[in-house]
């Protein structure tokens, strides 16, 4: 990558984002990549006068990540998207779709993870459980090699 990447810890993330906003940076987007069974890499891309700056946060699966949507409202959709696809839970989201921006309740695994996470049980539990739906073939395509572990429910 041509531009510098600044590593950041979860507890300092919102403060760093707020500093960039004061400096006149706009949020472009977030890019999320699964690193291994336990961790996920999130890059926050900011732009000012067509020059990019990136923050890098390595998050642990199953642990909540602070949302920057109270600082940058533009983050709300992409953070919800990451909740759907990677199973991370963002705390303090401006609008929280609770893992169902794209996916339906029947989707039982996080579709963009090779080491797949089991999505939290939803209102469908009971008479028509998420696992039942998966057994009927409604779950997203799996590559067959993925493993599955439970994660806590998104806030």
């Amino acid at each position: 990558m041509r531009e510098a990447i600044i590593p950041v810890q979860a507890d300092a993330l919102v403060g760093e984002a707020a500093k960039l906003k004061v400096q006149g940076y706009r949020l472009v987007t977030l890019s999320c990549t699964e690193l291994d069974e336990t961790s996920i890499d999130i890059l926050y891309h900011f732009d000012k006068d067509l020059a990019l700056k990136h923050l890098r946060l390595t998050a642990r699966k199953g642990e909540p990540v602070p949302s920057i949507s109270p600082v940058y409202f533009a983050a709300l959709l992409v953070e919800n998207e990451i909740q759907d696809f990677f199973g991370l839970a963002f705390e303090g989201l401006a609008v929280d779709f609770k893992g169902m921006l794209y996916l339906e309740e029947e989707a039982i695994k996080t579709p963009y993870c090779r080491f797949s996470l089991r999505r939290p049980a939803t209102a469908a539990d009971g008479e028509n459980s998420a696992e039942d739906a998966g057994a009927q073939g409604a779950a997203p395509a799996d590559d067959g090699a993925s493993q599955s572990t439970d994660i806590p429910a998104a806030k």
């Binding site: 949020l27 890019s31 992409v78 590559d143």
Partner: protein
């Protein structure tokens, strides 16, 4: 006052693609808009796990039909950067030519749909009639009308000769002449102005802060266009972004109208300065991509960003695509409150929403 919630979409006469907006209204005015996505989500990014980095070109071209060439150009640009591949100058100029042809046909398509959104069907027909000529140019120079498939890692796969390029220039003269005939109607007509001026206003500060992209950003007075970065051959072609300051539907349509003329001009200059030589660098002996990059280009709807990561294998570790409509949805949610329900179709179309891109 009593609140009513009205679903707008996913199927609506004005929407070419499915998006759902949950609109809360009081009397006839919108007080809140909440989007719902997922009707055309295909999980294309995930295909990077099973398709090698060459095959992914065909995948990213199918993110969106209207700007397929620009998706592929952005992806190839990123992989070329990771692999250290230098693209021949002629290929860079040809990428500009085909990118601008895509921009023109996309803007013409949008202007037709936009006119249709407020019932001006004859203008819709006229813009689409002109657009057909651009599709003919694409077919003649690439072999395809929509998904043109000209990009490869290291350049392009087609090399139009001088006679073809002269024909392209002649066709563009016809397109410009016909297009300018619609200027008075699109920009001065009473009905058009009545439906667009002062509707869906987004201030300069809001557009910037909410991460708007493309004509939505420039229509609010922010002079930012990814082509200013100078990728492909844009750095060698004089280029200035088209900017309007009112931030309403009219300003956004004016930006697209003027950008169409600017694109015609860019193609002419690219063809006139087209260098001789090869159009493709051979990758023989190159290792698989290792490393990560963020690369950006300007789509018709705005800035397109690709994050690519390779670990030295045939398949990439990650292909992440941020499309301009995805960036323009938060601004849309700010534009709609305060609008009459009858203005929702016009305001929604003013960001030129591409849901196929957005959901990937």
């Amino acid at each position: 006052m009593r609140k009513t919630v009205i679903p707008f979409g996913p199927q609506h006469p004005v929407l070419p693609e499915p998006i759902h907006l949950k609109l809360t209204i009081e009397d006839e005015r919108i007080t809140e808009a909440v989007p719902a996505l997922g009707y055309v989500h295909r999980g294309l990014e995930r295909l990077a796990d099973v398709r090698d980095y060459h095959q992914m070109i065909q995948v990213v071209e199918r993110v969106c039909g209207i700007c397929s060439m620009i998706h592929a150009a952005c992806y190839c640009q990123g992989v070329e950067e990771i692999m250290g591949v230098e693209v021949p100058p002629r290929a860079n100029y040809l990428r500009v030519m085909w990118s601008e042809l895509h921009r023109i046909q996309s803007h013409l398509l949008w202007m037709g749909l936009f006119a249709d959104s407020f019932g001006f069907e004859s203008v819709f027909m006229q813009f689409w009639r002109i657009r057909e000529r651009i599709m003919d140019i694409s077919e003649a120079t690439t072999g395809n009308r929509v998904i043109v498939s000209v990009n490869v890692i290291g350049g392009v796969r087609r090399n139009p000769d001088a006679e073809q390029l002269r024909w392209v220039l002649n066709q563009l003269d016809w397109v410009e002449e016909e297009f300018r005939r619609l200027e008075a109607t699109m920009l001065e007509d009473y009905t058009v102005k009545k439906r667009t001026v002062g509707k869906g206003v987004l201030s300069k500060a809001q557009a910037y802060e909410l991460g708007a992209a493309g004509p939505t950003l420039r229509g609010s007075g922010v002079a930012q266009d990814a082509r200013q970065i100078g990728y492909a051959a844009y750095g060698e072609l004089y280029f200035e972004p088209v900017v309007e300051t009112d931030g309403d539907c009219y300003a956004r349509s004016k930006v697209r109208f003027r950008e169409t003329l600017a694109s015609i001009d860019l193609i002419r200059r690219a063809i006139n300065r087209l260098p001789d030589g090869e159009v493709r660098t051979k990758l023989k002996g190159k290792d698989n991509p290792v490393g990560e990059t963020v690369t950006r280009v300007e789509q018709p709807r705005g800035e397109l960003l690709y994050y690519l990561k390779g670990k030295g294998e045939k398949t990439l570790d990650r292909v992440r695509i941020r499309t301009p409509t995805f960036a323009n949805l938060p601004p849309l949610l700010v534009m709609l409150p305060g609008m009459y329900l009858s203005d929702v179709p016009v305001v929604t179309l003013s960001i030129d929403p591409c849901i196929s891109c957005t959901e990937r």
